[in-house]
């Protein structure tokens, strides 16, 4: 067990992968000389050189597509798209090439590509820099989508992602980089959700950057006498529904927390699955706490109001007990 930041954990994961396997390389805007926008890759250029820590021009479609090609060609690229906001420019290559090549080729070509990107709001970066589009990626067959929410997962998920013969998208919430935690050695499982706090009365289901807020909400609820279980999805595609449903069947109540805009969020999918598959086990209608339906505004008080917060989660959970 070592204590480190989420940022360091990510860096260690990349470093370890690159030391272990010569096919692994890191490519993206400013991953090298700049040291990484969020300083994740700082120091890696010095260790591995500019071929394997490859600064790319501002060409998201081009270098993500090149990552797909390099994966086809026998390499194990880790492509960093600076943030999910810019990934819209590269979406065609992810959806129409990476995700479909294996199927379209009748199983001949796998694309062992890992794409990492920062996601989420909370840093007052306004409407074009605050998207949470994990749910879009989780919609696409052929992709595996990961959202490490803990330092241990930041350290452990990458090796598993690289071991996957098919494309994996990894979302790192910008608010998590400075969080600290313990990590153990070795890869972690990327098939299962995790119960981050056991509880009996309501299931709070979330992922990524919303996990800390949700845990905070659970602590607040405990003080009110409500015993909440917190489920961290971890893997956004394919969803680990058995873990979610087991929790909900136990607690009989569910609140799904997701930083995406409510309409069409991944939270909608979770609520739908709960409604479809655990309908008769529920004591209350499932609920969601998501972002308001507004481009994220710059000023802190408005940004805070737009995003899920512990208080809103508490209120949503409380309402399931008929409490105001």
């Amino acid at each position: 067990m070592t204590r480190m930041s989420y940022r360091e954990a990510m860096r260690e994961a990349i470093r370890a992968a690159m030391r272990e396997d010569a096919r692994v390389f890191l490519m993206g805007e400013d991953v090298g000389r700049y040291g990484g926008t969020y300083a994740v890759s700082k120091g890696l250029l010095e260790e591995f050189g500019p071929e394997r820590v490859r600064d790319a021009p501002l060409s998201e479609l081009g270098f993500v597509g090149a990552g797909v090609g390099a994966a086809l060609g026998g390499m194990r690229p880790i492509v960093e798209v600076m943030t999910v906001n810019f990934s819209l420019l590269a979406l065609d290559q992810i959806v129409n090439s990476a995700a479909t090549l294996r199927h379209m080729s009748g199983g001949q070509f796998s694309v062992p590509l890992v794409v990492r990107m920062a996601t989420g709001a909370g840093r007052q970066l306004a409407a074009q820099h605050s998207h949470s589009l994990e749910g879009w990626y989780a919609h696409v067959p052929g992709l595996t989508v990961l959202a490490p929410a803990t330092v241990a997962d930041a350290r452990g998920m990458l090796a598993a992602a690289l071991a996957d013969p098919d494309p994996v998208i990894v979302f790192e919430h910008v608010q998590l980089y400075n969080t600290e935690g313990d990590v153990a050695e070795g890869p972690v499982d990327i098939r299962r959700a995790a119960v981050r706090r056991a509880g009996t009365q309501v299931s709070l289901v979330t992922y990524g950057g919303s996990l800390p807020k949700t845990l905070e909400a659970a602590a607040m609820l405990a003080r009110e006498g409500i015993d909440a279980e917190v489920v961290d999805l971890r893997v956004l595609r394919p969803l680990d529904l058995p873990t979610v449903l087991a929790s909900v069947r136990k607690t009989r109540r569910a609140v799904v927390v997701d930083e995406a805009w409510k309409t069409g969020s991944l939270a909608a999918e979770i609520v739908a699955r709960i409604a479809e598959e655990a309908f008769y086990d529920l004591d209350a209608a499932p609920a969601r706490v998501c972002s308001e339906e507004v481009p994220i505004p710059y000023p802190k008080h408005l940004e805070d109001a737009a995003l899920p917060q512990a208080e809103k989660i508490v209120a949503a959970a409380r309402a399931l007990f008929g409490k105001p």
């Binding site: 090609g69 390099a70 294996r102 070509f109 098919d166």
Partner: protein, 333 residues
């Protein structure tokens, strides 16, 4: 406006020449049959024929080696065939049969073959360009001296994907051979209505890579030009851009009413048809007799007939297997 038909002596060995001719004939006959099969409802979806452009794929792919990679477009039947995908597997794919080169999942626009190093078939215009750049990057990083040939239409050059991919390839000096099939139209949009700069080599040269423009109706010119370009790429000197000036004799796809071009323009270009001009030159030179031509043609026809029979006899993937090949099966340790 249109240049005179390719003429004069063919500057290559007879064996080579006949092999080029044979391949053009194989493509032509295969595609004529495809058109027929489309009418009969055996082939469905979109079908884009290469008829008129055979000299391009033929001359270019003859200049490649077995270990080279090829990335193509939705108009890629010819490329697949010449890369070494069997005509039967191609035909079965167009039928959607399990014996197809993409197990029937892809159809006409998605011919793939790992053994033949054909990385598709791509139905997104420009989509193959970054892919080829990435394949070349993998080769460079692994110390493999190989040509990554990427075919695309002149219409694709307006896409951002072209710009980004060519810049990356030139910046990183990657072994990509950019093969622009300039057939003057992107669906119904003439080159002059899609590019401010219609001199495509001048445009490509702005990325600082060497370029060459060749007559895409002359299979020998295509072959020679591609040999030169491929040698550059193979020698590790970075990417190369070749423009093949060609023309499509048929509609863009089976849905196209061809409102955008004059029938006379098509007829004029047909005088430059790659098969008849080439065979005429060979005959003139005494390298080919009419009997020999007919024998080649018959051979192509027979291969097509066998391919159709193979496709007809092919089987349908069971519906229970719908979800296969979405992910690679992982053998757990």
């Amino acid at each position: 406006m249109i240049a005179p038909p390719p003429s004069g002596p063919v500057p290559c060995a007879r064996e080579t020449a006949l092999s080029l001719l044979d391949d053009m004939l194989r493509i032509r006959r295969m595609e004529e049959k495809c058109a027929e099969l489309y009418g009969a409802g055996k082939i469905r979806g979109f079908l884009h024929l290469y008829i008129g452009e055979e000299a391009v794929a033929t001359g270019a792919i003859h200049a490649l080696e077995a270990e080279d990679n090829v990335v193509a477009t939705y108009r890629e039947h010819a490329h697949a065939l010449l890369c070494g995908v069997g005509m039967d597997a191609i035909m079965a794919e167009m039928y959607g049969k399990r014996e197809g080169c993409s197990r029937g999942r892809g159809g006409s626009m998605h011919l793939f073959d790992a053994r033949a190093r054909l990385y598709g078939g791509n139905a997104i215009v420009g989509g193959g360009l970054p892919l080829a750049t990435g394949l070349a990057l993998a080769d460079r990083m692994q110390g493999i001296a190989r040509v990554n040939a990427c075919f695309f239409g002149e219409g694709a050059m307006a896409e951002g994907a072209f710009h980004e991919a060519v810049n990356l390839a030139a910046l990183w000096q990657l072994p990509v051979l950019f093969c622009c099939e300039n057939n003057l139209y992107a669906m119904g949009t003439a080159l002059a209505r899609s590019e401010a700069q219609t001199d495509l080599c001048a445009k490509a040269a702005s990325y600082r890579l060497p370029t060459l423009s060749v007559d895409g109706m002359d299979v020998v010119a295509v072959h020679e030009g591609t040999c030169e370009a491929a040698a550059h790429v193979r020698a590790g000197k970075g990417p190369f851009f070749v423009e093949f000036r060609t023309y499509r004799f048929r509609a863009h796809s089976m849905f196209d009413a061809e409102l955008y071009r004059d029938k006379r323009e098509v007829e004029a270009w047909k005088t430059r048809g790659p098969i008849h001009t080439f065979s005429a030159r060979l005959k003139q030179q005494g390298m080919l007799t009419e009997e020999q031509f007919l024998a080649l043609d018959r051979g192509a026809g027979e291969e097509v007939a066998r391919a159709v029979a193979f496709a007809e006899a092919g089987t349908w993937e069971p519906v229970e297997d719908l979800a296969r090949d979405v992910h690679t099966p992982v053998v757990m340790p």
